[in-house]
């Protein structure tokens, strides 16, 4: 492993970094359909293919539904398959997304988070990937371009682990991360190649000596058992992924966890958030800490499997928590992250007071002053020992 100081640094946007990671992974098959803001991934990758820089067979399918369908076919045929999409593209492939997970195919997909229609909006929010949270896919949210690059590489290892064998979606904020230029420390091609290794499928359609049938009809007597197996796979993921974190650190030097606490250990009040907003929040945490306020941030990197134990542990001493959701469930009880975090804290003896902030829908900007306001509100909540409003809308015009 070359020390971080020796790594080459490339100026890349989130999409370019995803394409770069894919270049080094060198998947066997890529089937993808363009949609803003994912398009740069597909276009960059197509250029790699055109220049013979990768061995990938790339299929320019005629829709996202066919993109995931072709990936399912390729993966069932024993190939390492990758794709990428956003928003309505993910929505269009929805039934096949479920099929990929239930067929236990280790497909890795970059989801460039973008709002779902209607009205049509090409900017960032999490409604797309949150809509797929029950699909059985592992979900990873990246804070910045460096994370997109690194976690996409790690995702392949996670997906293909024989005790997991679940597809993984690696999410990055549309435009905010996907089109933002950062100095990204790049691993060496050899390192990535050795880390991901070769995909060894258990049942391949091309193993004609041992014909198998994929996707049978289950009647009432077997479907439940097959779904129970999928649950087991997610449970295994919880146990296996920490080992992959250790291996990743050994090879590449970066340390990862299901969550990342930022100045959370002695925090009195904390924000729980995903993705790029965590970067903004860290700036606010530093500023308020300088003023002596005991504030912190809990970043959720993995949303599936849901890191309940890590959340409970990290928030053990926090008095009030604000969960930021960049999507709405329209349940009238707040966003998906809020609901799941609240549920995780239900059994805790000393539960923190908890409130929800829906923000950033359709790419509505969130800045440091708004996050400061959230911590301000949390301060008042602790003072009054009461949550006035369970669900707040941050940044919407009334």
């Amino acid at each position: 492993m070359s020390p971080l100081s020796e790594r080459i640094v490339k100026a890349l946007t989130g999409d370019e970094a995803a394409a770069e990671a894919m270049r080094q992974i060198n998947p066997d098959v890529v089937a993808a359909y363009p949609i803003t803001p994912q398009t740069e991934i597909v276009m960059n990758y197509a250029q790699f293919v055109a220049n013979g820089v990768v061995d990938t067979e790339m299929v320019a399918v005629e829709s996202e539904h066919s993109a995931m369908s072709a990936c399912v076919g390729a993966s069932a045929a024993g190939a390492r398959a990758m794709t990428a999409t956003s928003a309505n593209g993910l929505a269009l492939m929805w039934e096949v997304v479920y099929i990929a997970a239930s067929n236990r195919l280790p497909i890795v997909m970059t989801v460039v988070n973008r709002a779902l229609s209607a009205p049509i909006n090409i900017h960032c929010d999490h409604s797309d990937s949150m809509g797929a949270r029950d699909s059985g896919w592992i979900q990873i949210y990246c804070e910045n371009v460096q994370e997109v690059y690194e976690l996409l590489i790690m995702a392949v290892k996670i997906a293909e682990h024989p005790d997991i064998l679940l597809p993984v979606m690696v999410c990055e904020d549309g435009f905010i991360t996907s089109h933002a230029l950062e100095g990204v420390k790049i691993f060496r091609d050899e390192e990535v190649k050795n880390f991901v290794g070769e995909y060894k499928p258990q049942f391949s359609l091309l193993d004609v000596e041992h014909p198998v049938t994929y996707g049978p009809l289950d009647l009432q007597d077997y479907y439940f058992e097959h779904k129970r197996q999928q649950v087991e796979a997610m449970e295994n993921a919880k146990k296996v992924i920490p080992r992959i974190f250790i291996e990743f650190e050994k090879v590449f030097g970066s340390k990862y966890g299901f969550v990342e606490g930022y100045k959370i250990d002695d925090a009195e009040i904390a924000i729980v958030a995903l993705s790029s907003t965590c970067g903004t929040t860290k700036v606010v945490v530093d500023k308020l800490r300088e003023k002596g306020k005991r504030v912190g941030l809990l970043k959720l990197r993995f949303f599936r499997p849901f890191p309940k134990e890590e959340i409970v542990e990290s928030l053990a001493n926090v008095k009030a928590v604000a969960v930021l959701d960049r999507s709405e469930s329209f349940s009238t009880q707040g966003g998906p992250v809020f609901t799941e975090v609240k549920s995780a804290l239900y059994e805790v003896d000393r539960r923190p007071l908890i409130t929800n902030y829906i923000y950033g829908l359709g790419g509505r900007d969130i800045d440091t002053s708004q996050i400061e306001k959230v911590y301000d509100d949390l301060g008042k909540i602790v003072e009054q020992n009461k949550v006035e409003t369970a669900v707040n809308y941050l940044g919407v015009r009334e």
Binding site: N103, R104, F203, T213, D221, H226, Q229, E232
Partner: protein, 93 residues
């Protein structure tokens, strides 16, 4: 049949035994059973290529027998036989 639990079956519903439907006896569906007059049969094999259930057994280019475990008694073989040597005989009330 005692059905297996989730720990015992291959994941994802993948069926690893090719052609396992062979163990499912659709012959139980029949009302009429094809009976062949072996003397009249010229082994033209037309019944074989028209059988929907792969239930006409051929060996070395000659018709051997019907696979009564799977034959559903549709009657197509009897209908297409140019020599009319297959009769559909009522098997069950």
């Amino acid at each position: 049949m005692n059905k297996k639990g989730w720990k015992e079956i291959p994941k994802a519903g993948i069926i690893t035994e090719a052609g396992s439907a062979h163990n499912y006896k659709t012959g139980q569906w029949r009302t009429f059973k094809p009976i062949r007059d072996k003397d009249k049969c010229t082994h033209c094999l037309l019944c074989w290529i028209y059988c929907p259930d792969s239930s006409i057994l051929v060996s070395q280019g000659k018709l051997v027998d019907f696979d009564y475990d799977h034959c559903k008694g549709c009657g197509i073989c009897s209908n297409v036989c140019p020599r009319k040597c297959i009769k559909m005989v009522k098997e069950r009330p």
